[in-house]
């Protein structure tokens, strides 16, 4: 218990007997005890008030509290005077505790902050501050510890708990060569890692910075409150002075009655409840989102997210997994196995995602000694010497070049044709698959009132149509070059829509992310350009996080509005009743401290303690 709490407790312990004595007819003893109670709670407030006065700030809340309470004493309302001081002090303590508490409630994030890193230099381990680690340093992480800096596993295998980063509770395996993100917890084995980034560029530092600085982008309601607070106190003080003077001087009404009314008004002159509860609400809302792996960059973004009516998303990597899979093998005169083997060997030297898909499917080790010269024909395919045979692997155009006309092909997938020594050997089909939750996420968005969902892709119309059909997107634009995507997006920004969200992986669509009303970067905090341009960063790959982000924004804003409406209504009601003489000090204390407490407790709800969001659309389509 700190000094201030002790003072307030002593004040309270004196206040109770002082009040009882007052009402049982012991005026002088009561007054003595009440003055002691007043001094106990009021000393610190008086010191603060004196300091404010020295700087010429007469509208300071401490000073106004002194005036209101001391004034009450002077006109013979000692019990109320102490009550004002005492409950004002309790209120301030409560506010501080509540703010502290909600600061801690994002402690899952604060805990991620590493204190030191065990680096290995010259075969020895040193504990150094994370800021001193340079790229290329080796460092070790024991089971149970958090990864302090983004790195690549050099030795050891383990599984990682990434819940604090992505909200994903399933552990992820990590072995030699895998890159790991700081902030995840090493669950099982010791790992030796090599630093890929310095601390300030690592995931954990970026997440912390994003959450802590998100408050800089203030919501409309926060701006309103700041504005309101600026004029509220001076206005109430002027009104109180008028109430104290005009009826007495101009109409000769009794001074004690009107001064009392003015003092009651001063008790309600602080806008504290609002000024604290509204930013607190948004802070808790941002905390709730980040707990779920969604980094929302401030209340201003929540304002826009809540009114999303159009969502434009990139296909590859956002709606789909972005990895290609082999979906069909159609041999012609050779066995399936042979077709795949020749295709895999001829594509062996290429890193194209399609080549990787074929090689991965083939699975067996490729005997590289059998592979001769390989020639890439841009836009057509590859010609490779394999085991003394010439293998052509590519599209219909490549087949045509060697005289194989009119090959069959499916329209909605990528067809890879294979010819062995100029003889057609069949085709392999490759396609990208939607993420398992894309369809549900899109249905959920529609249920939330997003009335236009558009998919953009560089792929062919046929393959875009196939994906659109599976996930339930009605509108798409295909065969777009990267720069066309931005132009398409701008077509939708014609002012006829309320709020347009753009969702992309952030790697090559940073301009679109920056241009949209709300730019959302998916799949982690890895890409610098994306994070800088994005308003929302989704740490994992789930499209369901988009409706969740909208839901969190709506919940948070609702709570902020409740606080504003409730606090303002009670305050104005109390002010009005005070002028009419219908509200006494006690009601004013409630309107000040009580309302503060209620608004703050309500604001903390934005953290959504028990709320788990899941896309609730029926019949999830699993792909």
């Amino acid at each position: 218990m700190n000094r201030r709490s002790v003072e307030v407790l002593i004040s309270f312990l004196l206040f109770v007997p002082g009040t009882l004595l007052h009402y049982t007819g012991h005026p002088s003893l009561s007054l003595a005890i009440l003055l002691a109670a007043y001094a106990a709670a009021g000393y610190t407030v008086a010191v603060a008030a004196a300091r404010s006065l020295r700087y010429g700030m007469i509208l300071d809340e401490n000073f106004l509290t002194i005036i209101a309470s001391a004034g009450a004493f002077l006109i013979g309302a000692g019990v109320e005077g102490v009550a004002v001081m005492l409950f004002f002090s309790v209120g301030v303590l409560f506010e501080q505790a509540a703010v502290q508490k909600s600061r801690q409630s994002i402690s899952e994030l604060v805990e991620m902050q590493p204190v030191s890193v065990r680096v290995i230099r010259d075969d020895r381990e040193y504990e150094i501050p994370p800021e001193d680690v340079v790229v290329g340093d080796y460092y070790s992480v024991l089971p149970g510890e958090r990864i302090p800096i983004d790195g690549t596993v050099v030795s050891g295998t383990s599984s990682l708990d990434m819940k604090a980063l992505t909200g994903e509770s399933l552990p992820k395996d990590a072995g030699t060569g895998d890159s790991v993100l700081s902030g995840s917890i090493n669950l099982s084995g010791s790992l030796t890692l090599k630093a890929d980034k310095v601390y300030s560029d690592s995931t954990v530092a970026r997440v912390l910075e994003l959450v802590e600085e998100s408050g800089a982008k203030k919501s409309e309601s926060e701006k309103f409150i700041t504005m309101f607070a600026r004029y509220y106190t001076p206005a109430v003080v002027i009104a109180a002075i008028s109430v104290a003077l005009i009826p007495v001087l101009a109409f000769g009404l009794p001074a004690d009655v009107w001064v009392y009314r003015a003092l009651v008004m001063l008790v309600i002159s602080c806008p504290c409840a609002l000024v604290i509860s509204v930013p607190l609400t948004f802070f808790c809302g941002v905390g709730r989102a980040s707990r779920s792996g969604i980094l929302i960059n401030g209340g201003a973004v929540m304002d826009r997210l809540a009114f999303a009516d159009t969502v434009i998303m990139d296909k590859t990597g956002t709606v789909t997994m972005g990895t290609f899979n082999l979906t069909g093998i159609y041999p012609n005169g050779v066995s399936e196995e042979e077709l795949v083997r020749y295709a895999a060997m001829s594509e062996y030297k290429s890193d194209h995602p399609i080549s990787r898909a074929i090689i991965d499917y083939y699975g067996d080790a490729v005997d590289a000694s059998l592979i001769g010269e390989s020639r890439n024909i841009p836009g057509k395919g590859i010609i490779t010497e394999v085991d003394g045979k010439t293998i052509h692997t590519g599209n219909a155009g490549l087949m045509k070049e060697i005289g194989i006309e009119s090959v069959t092909a499916e329209g909605d997938v990528t067809n890879i044709h294979v010819a062995i020594d100029g003889v057609y050997a069949g085709r392999i089909t490759i396609s990208d698959t939607p993420k398992f939750d894309s369809a549900v996420a899109i249905e959920e968005l529609e249920m939330m009132g997003v009335n236009e969902i558009v998919m953009l892709t560089g792929d062919t119309a046929a393959s875009a149509e196939r994906i659109a059909e599976i996930v339930g997107v009605e509108k798409f634009h295909s065969e777009l070059l990267p720069e066309d995507k931005l132009r398409k997006l701008e077509d939708y920004l014609d002012g006829s829509r309320k709020t347009l969200l753009y969702v992309g992986d952030g790697i090559n669509d940073a301009p679109s992310i920056a241009r949209a009303d709300v730019g959302i970067a998916m799949g982690g905090i890895g890409s610098d350009s994306a994070v800088e341009a994005a308003d929302v960063v989704i740490m994992n790959d789930s499209l369901c996080k988009i409706p969740e982000a909208i839901q969190i924004s709506r919940d948070t804003r609702k709570i902020a509005y409740q606080n504003i409406v409730f606090s303002l209504s009670v305050k104005f009601l109390a002010l009005g009743l005070a002028v009419l003489g219908l509200a006494g000090m006690w009601f004013a204390i409630f309107a000040d401290v009580g309302v503060s407490a209620i608004a703050i407790l309500n604001g903390i709800r934005a953290y959504g303690f028990n709320k788990e969001f899941s896309c609730s659309a029926p019949n999830p389509v699993c792909q």
């Binding site: 603060a48 300091r51 700087y55 700030m57 809340e61 301030v92 506010e95 501080q96 703010v99 909600s102 600061r103 959450v211 802590e212 600085e213 408050g215 800089a216 203030k218 700041t226 607070a229 600026r230 602080c270 806008p271 504290c272 000024v275 604290i276 930013p279 607190l280 948004f282 802070f283």
Partner: protein, 73 residues
């Protein structure tokens, strides 16, 4: 350039707004933001003027919220 400071001991929400308003009046400050909840002060300004701005900001903070301490950059 963006400079971020900690504002420890900032207890009064209203003071945050006042500090923000006062610091924004310093000529060399391009933009300023006080984040009450995470106790941060973010100043955007030319690096050449930041020492002077820092001194003035400290004075403003002392005047408005004497308990608050500005630290770090």
């Amino acid at each position: 350039m963006k400079f971020t400071y900690r504002l420890e001991g900032l207890h009064c929400g209203n003071c945050g707004g006042k500090i923000e308003r006062e610091i924004s009046k310093i000529k060399e400050v391009e933009s300023v933001s006080v984040i009450f909840m995470s106790q941060r002060l973010i100043i955007n300004a030319d690096e050449a003027h930041i020492d002077k701005i820092e001194d003035e900001a400290r004075k403003i903070i002392k005047k408005i919220a004497s308990d608050a301490v500005m630290s770090g950059r």
